[in-house]
Symmetry: C2
Subunit: 316 residues, 2 copies
Amino acid sequence: MTGSPAYLAITGGIGGAKLSLGLAKILAAEELAFIVNTGDDFKHLNLHISPDVDTLVYTLAGVNNPETGWGRDGESWQFMAAMEALGGETWFQLGDKDLAMHIERTCRLQAGQTLTEATGELSKSLGIGHRIVPMSDDPVHTRVQTSGGLMDFQHYFVREQCAPKVSGFEFEGAGNAAINPEIVKWLNSEDLAGVIICPSNPFVSIDPILSIPGLREKLRDCKAPVIAVSPLIGGEAIKGPTVKIMNELNVPTTACWVAQYYADFLDGFVLDNVDRASKPEIEVAGLQVNVTNTVMVTLDDRMQLARDCLALLSKL
Amino acid sequence: MTGSPAYLAITGGIGGAKLSLGLAKILAAEELAFIVNTGDDFKHLNLHISPDVDTLVYTLAGVNNPETGWGRDGESWQFMAAMEALGGETWFQLGDKDLAMHIERTCRLQAGQTLTEATGELSKSLGIGHRIVPMSDDPVHTRVQTSGGLMDFQHYFVREQCAPKVSGFEFEGAGNAAINPEIVKWLNSEDLAGVIICPSNPFVSIDPILSIPGLREKLRDCKAPVIAVSPLIGGEAIKGPTVKIMNELNVPTTACWVAQYYADFLDGFVLDNVDRASKPEIEVAGLQVNVTNTVMVTLDDRMQLARDCLALLSKL
């Protein structure tokens, strides 16, 4: 497993993790690696919390909470109740099982491991064979420009439940962050057969990754085809604030707009059946389009969408 | 509650906490304060853990685990199981509820609070009115001299379950530690009516406190009487390694020896009924002796022993 993977999946939150699971089920550990957003990582109660990394790790390990999409299955909340009694901060839900990940990761980082090393070892201990790497080992913090001022992403997303009106985003630290060296190696590799941008929020899941200097250019210049799966279906997102944010940013809430947003580095786009009518418009932008079902309810849905992605890549 | 308390209880682990509860039930919050050993505090998983403080806080708040003597009631262990799955350190048991205390305390210390401030606010949030202060806000680390070399106290006590043979103890940092200013104020106060050394292990619970420069002298010189409750009953301790350590140190495993060990600052001693025969020998050392039941099974036992302590103090 020291070779370069044929496929790279770039992913953020819950939607991305769903497709990632489908891909992991049909591609062997050495064939596929994951690049994960860490823009919403934050320090809370002295713990280093990596929400998107954890969502992917828990999902691939099969220990995720299928109802919430985040956190662990069979979770309990004794810690939170005790924190409340002590007058501690409780706006960010930390389950008893989930805490182990944050505490162990924080210990490893304090002991000098990189986030890449810690993520690799922790995901391996949960039985995950596929490589999962953060976009960068350097800190990048997504800040939300809102009517109420600049806000930490988790404060906006969790504490304020995305209520503030968004006017833009900043990725603090991105300018000085280095692309994860693994990613550079993989994108430069002759073995690379394709890159898949998972159906994740373009602004808070994918843009932080693209904000690392050089990464967008590397996607543009890499020899393998790059495709994205639409995070919008009929103008709606399955989950999360994507559409609310798009409305507030005054951009069309369409799959087509997302395709164009990524068009400079994209070769193909996966569109949901309900958006079939947008296909010609996206093709005009020079992209090959695969129209299929992108709603992932069952594991079969996830695997089928993964196969559809590979089919599109093979045509490019 | 800004005045000086009439009574001070000096306490370490579980036995000390039992008598402390009895005292707290018969003395009002402003009449009684607790001085707690922090020699077995340690950093674990990046958390500041204060075992003796927590044992007392949980006991006084009525949320302690009555079976183990340490930790929380109705505790669950999801965190520990998840840590084990991640390959993290699991030799020190941290319950899901208990974790809240360690995480919140660590946050407060990192934010600049002293251990005294953090302990005060956390115990207050659990409904405790009595003041609980660590012996010092400076770090003191109990190290155990064993046949296998010098060992951190918790490694000896928990990880090695007191198996190594003990030849002595060191209290690292004690030489540079300042007595908690509250304690200095209380011991100097005209309001002080008595000091009670609770039935705690002399070597690992009380000696770390006495190792703070000046504290032993302050006990010796204070105008109020100082008494101790024997941690041994018929040559046995209710719980813990006291007798094993005494054997390894080649000292008699008797209440009388403990009385003499503290004799320089002691005015009275509380002896269990089964050790009645030792009374004259202890009186020879110049101590007044109260012979009573010191086995604390019920809350009534704890309160009665507390009353016996106050009765002895009132005679001195």
